[in-house]
Symmetry: C2
């Protein structure tokens, strides 16, 4: 009965029992803007809410994949159910994903307590903002207690990941000036925990000191969180216990300070707003089958009107000239 196989409520039920194929199917559905997307999201509401989302970010080569894998091993040793979402960068042009070295993850591929999913970021910024939170909801509903979100890339992708995570780990490595530079340039501001990977290499202590100094110089509020700097050698599984301990500390702080609730609300807010804007964008397209926008663009390009006046016409057509309601 093919109809039943994609029944969203049943799929969610099966995913909640930890059935890997149901989890995979659900992620595909929410990732691909499938017709069932809305039904799946509705079925997911009220499920989960227990998963901690931990983002891992840092310059290429610092060992994000290895660190993710070491954290999975450490969490599994503590009996925690783990999800891994590896967001791969795409060329903004081709949409092709650079799948990187996922070999280490194979260690966990047969563990029923670990769900691993690679996602391409779809060749567009903002791709992550859609697909990732949807997939997080699925993994959460599937009973993952911790979800590790690993992203590759610098700049915007890092900011985005922080927007989805409860706790953000920023990775650096000794001898990689770039990675420390990136941390200095501002990634520090999104870091809840700074991780110096490859701690067995020369210069690791200097990198740790350097980052500690920067953290010390950064302004902080009373009762605020000072990002700790943790040295690990993920490939040798050294320092992982300390990193997990710091993750627990941050979790406690998030809950006690009310920051967890604040972050999750802000996330939901951004998600709802993005979906609403996308719906409004679709309405713009549906005004006379795109022809209004085309005509306005033609007039603007020809100098017949300015883009703001043209946008006013478009908004009026989309919103039916209703002034923004003050109450409803």
């Amino acid at each position: 009965m093919p109809a039943r196989r994609t029944d969203p409520a049943e799929l969610v039920e099966r995913a909640a029992k930890g059935e890997p194929r149901a989890v995979a199917r659900l992620i595909s559905l929410v990732e691909n803007d499938a017709p069932q997307l809305r039904a799946v999201m509705a079925a997911l509401a009220g499920r989960g809410g227990r998963a901690r989302v931990v983002g891992l970010t840092g310059a290429p080569g610092v060992g994000k994949s290895t660190t993710t894998s070491a954290l999975v091993a450490g969490l599994r040793a503590r009996g925690r159910r783990v999800g891994v979402l590896a967001v791969d960068p795409s060329s903004p042009f081709t949409g092709g994903a650079l799948l990187g070295d996922r070999v280490r993850m194979q260690d966990h591929a047969t563990d029923p307590g670990v769900f691993i999913r690679s996602m391409a970021s779809r060749g567009r910024l903002g791709g992550l903002s859609w697909a990732a939170p949807h997939a997080l909801r699925v993994l959460d509903a599937a009973g993952c207690e911790v979800i590790l979100v690993e992203t590759v890339g610098v700049g915007q992708a890092e900011v985005e990941i922080a927007g989805h995570a409860d706790t953000t780990l920023v990775l650096a490595a000794p001898g990689m000036g770039d990675s420390v530079q990136a941390a200095k340039a501002g990634v520090l501001e999104i870091a809840d925990i700074l991780v110096v990977n490859k701690a067995d290499r020369e210069g690791a202590q200097a990198t740790v000191r350097d980052l500690r100094t920067m953290v010390g110089l950064a302004p902080s509020e009373p009762g605020g969180w000072k990002p700790p700097v943790v040295a690990v050698s993920a490939a040798r599984a050294e320092g992982v216990d300390e990193l997990l301990r710091q993750l627990d500390q941050h979790e406690r702080w998030l809950e006690e300070s009310g920051e967890l609730r604040r972050r999750r609300r802000a996330r939901a807010r951004a998600e709802v707003e993005a979906i609403a804007l996308e719906a409004l964008r679709a309405r713009i397209g549906s005004v006379r089958d795109h022809r209004l926008l085309d005509e306005l663009a033609e007039r603007v390009a020809g100098g017949g009107t300015d883009p703001y006046a043209a946008a006013d016409e478009l908004v009026a057509a989309v919103a039916g000239d209703v002034p923004a309601p003050l109450s409803r």
Copy 2:
């Protein structure tokens, strides 16, 4: 009379006569979302439309600034009025601009036929999409025949610049594997002309050959444009004539193929759509002074509803529940 000093119509009139202070003031107004922004844009409509917009992009260190300066000198020698918009990357966090080496530009600072403006990209992607096209309209109305838009950064910033330019130059340099790598990774697809700068250095010919091979392998349509690869040494002003010749050729092709009209319409379309979406986003905020969005976020975060159902409520409140009109 301070009121007259910011009268948009008069400012535009003075800018059209080439008065540098009026141009600078107008750019500040359109850049800063000033109250007069709309009046300025309305006054600019119908002015200009003659400026060619040339984007320069490439990895840091390839010599974009030097090349821009050399092009300015070459264009001035031909009596063309030139605008330069240098878009500087900001940390996505601090909003602080890294102002790079603008020293060479000082050569042209006192030339009344050159307008130079640095813009920060405002610490956010999309910042460029607002401020840059507005500033381009001002420079166009001020009688610039060619506007060079130089951006720093990789990936998304490069794609954005291509979206605003009639012609996009992608720069590489010998011995900078990264710059060629970037070109290979897909920047090739936005390049109308590939420039190998520092042509006096070792390996320049190899870089030229490498890029020509790539261009040769790329699919192209009959009557389409094959990006030429031009070797220049901008610091020595060598190869600039050939680059200007290729720019002229591309201009001719743009006009004859109808591609210029197509590109400019697409640009106007994106601009109008972005402004309309921003207006709709503002309406979302104005629904009960953001409280509806806050309440919906709270419900989503608490599992009481899903983000799509919440977005439906928001859209209904903003658009007054009017279904997207099929005609108007």
